[in-house]
Symmetry: C4
Subunit: 184 residues, 4 copies
């Protein structure tokens, strides 16, 4: 299989990637921005999410990472994804230039629609750029097994991108105590 050669190694790197005939799809977590205010308090400044990256096939088992299109799912969109019933579909719309002077010039959409006979889903990203006059579209069919993997890791990661495990971690009396002994 072709490896995800173009991706960065900065930060903790983990993903789940499927390679299909016309494009590849990679799913990876986006960490929340949690800052420590002092030794007893922290705050989630920005929720994390889940990054979907599509990049096209340019030959047999060759994929061009430079032509990738990304879609960052918010926690609620992750909820929509993992709650999707067998015959249901959903579509999300993003404007990467929202609240800038370019607002409305680039339209991104991600659609998830069921394949026939309960065999999985079709994931489709569309990016319409009115400034560059481009219209990119990449599609990846995902089998039921692959969708189960994505749903399982998304269910796992959802509390993490909202910062809940980090918040629960404050109440570990043993570790706290031992730590302070070490520092004393």
């Amino acid at each position: 299989l072709v490896t995800d050669a173009g991706s960065s190694s900065i930060g903790r790197f983990a993903n789940y990637t499927v390679f299909k005939g016309k494009a590849a799809l990679s799913v990876k977590p986006i960490l929340p921005d949690i800052r420590e205010l002092d030794s007893r308090s922290s705050r989630t400044y920005r929720n994390g999410g889940v990054m979907l990256t599509f990049w096209p096939a340019v030959g047999q088992r060759k994929y061009d990472w430079e032509k990738k299109q990304v879609f960052a799912l918010s926690p609620t969109e992750v909820g929509s994804f993992i709650g999707l019933g067998p015959a249901e579909s959903c579509e999300f719309f993003h404007d990467p230039s929202m609240k800038s002077s370019l607002e409305g010039q680039v339209k991104k959409s991600l659609s998830i629609s069921p394949l026939s006979n309960d065999n999985g889903y079709f994931l489709n990203i569309s990016v319409v750029n009115n400034i560059q006059k481009t219209n990119e579209r990449l599609s990846v069919p995902v089998t039921k097994a692959e969708f189960t993997v994505i749903r399982t890791v998304l269910s796992y990661v959802l509390p993490h991108i909202l910062g809940w495990p980090q918040a629960m971690r404050s109440h570990q009396p043993t570790t706290e105590k031992k730590m302070s002994k070490q520092q004393g």
Copy 2:
């Protein structure tokens, strides 16, 4: 989106918030009270729970945190929430003055009822205060995707508010051993 500006930063802070036309709803974990008796034993003195906070809209995308109403779900009420079927509803009643001289003077209720066509749920908090002669009611419609997020984080947090992960953590031979080496 409007941020949760009025909330405290003391403690580990994490929540999931939805902003709707008439009110906002925030969901966050309440930590259990676990105390260490000695280096080998600890005890959960009080279970945690999940805090629901409702606060009203006072203008377009403006919400008044000072007028918030809270409802603390017990572990069993969390179980009722996450086990709710598509067409089911449930209602909880709390008396914040229970076992005090004001018992029965304030009646809080939280109801969860399905929206039509499997499109989510309606969360409604009602606080009747016989002393102050007030009757507050706040309602937030929650989409199916948002409900999936809440259900997922509640399922995640349920063992934590009962102290189970903290109890399981005692059996980590490696850490224990390394820790004692460091202390020696």
Copy 3:
């Protein structure tokens, strides 16, 4: 509510308890016996499980911990519990004296049967002791919400009582490295 006053504080203590008219039921994890062979290997010598404790009501909101009956669910019995369908029932049989000279003299059984109208389950423990000529039976009706709590914490704890999280923990390069620096 009556607290679980008779239980031991040795070890990490966590449970989930319901108090009903005729008896109380407490659910808590049993830790696996994992031993470290050296700094790079460990082994699960004995799987953990889940301990169910029933003890009878002896007055209004008073329960007699001295008359408790216990039933330790194996991992597979935990699987049977959490996989139980809405109208299904199951029954487990244990012989606490198995492989001793008293084998067959004490017969314990735990049955889980659905209440009418999808309203929860009836948990029933029976202990027939042929030596002491006793036949104890304790029953606790568990609501759908309480059953959801038990099922959720049992699903959470199942990998832990089999030692899987402990096994996965060996592959944390960062911690390992930092730990060894501290020891050097």
Copy 4:
């Protein structure tokens, strides 16, 4: 019960084993290969998986570990396993000599098919070796309860074999800070 005497104690050892009339089946996690590049970044070089080991009965409650056959499930095959519906079946094919000169000489297959009346599944491994002219087949019936255990631990372990928890762990401000204090 017969213990898993032939298995190695190197590494963190955890499994779930069922012993049946004609063979035993053991399920255990395969750790991913995650390497730390520097103190702030790591990378998953190879995903983990789940190892299924079948070994035959050679007498009453005696099993011959030397005659074991193994099948390593990939993350996507784990997804296929845990997403299996009550009446569904699936089959996986592996070539352990893929990309070597012996490619195609050994054919391994694992099939999972439902038992009658929703009573569990039949797991069957077949290894056809054209060089040694052997055709080994081992089968284990798995009850619904046992299948629930396997599905639960596989759902738990799936994010871990993809390296997601390890990636999320980088964002623990408290630990990071305390660690650096200790090292300073």
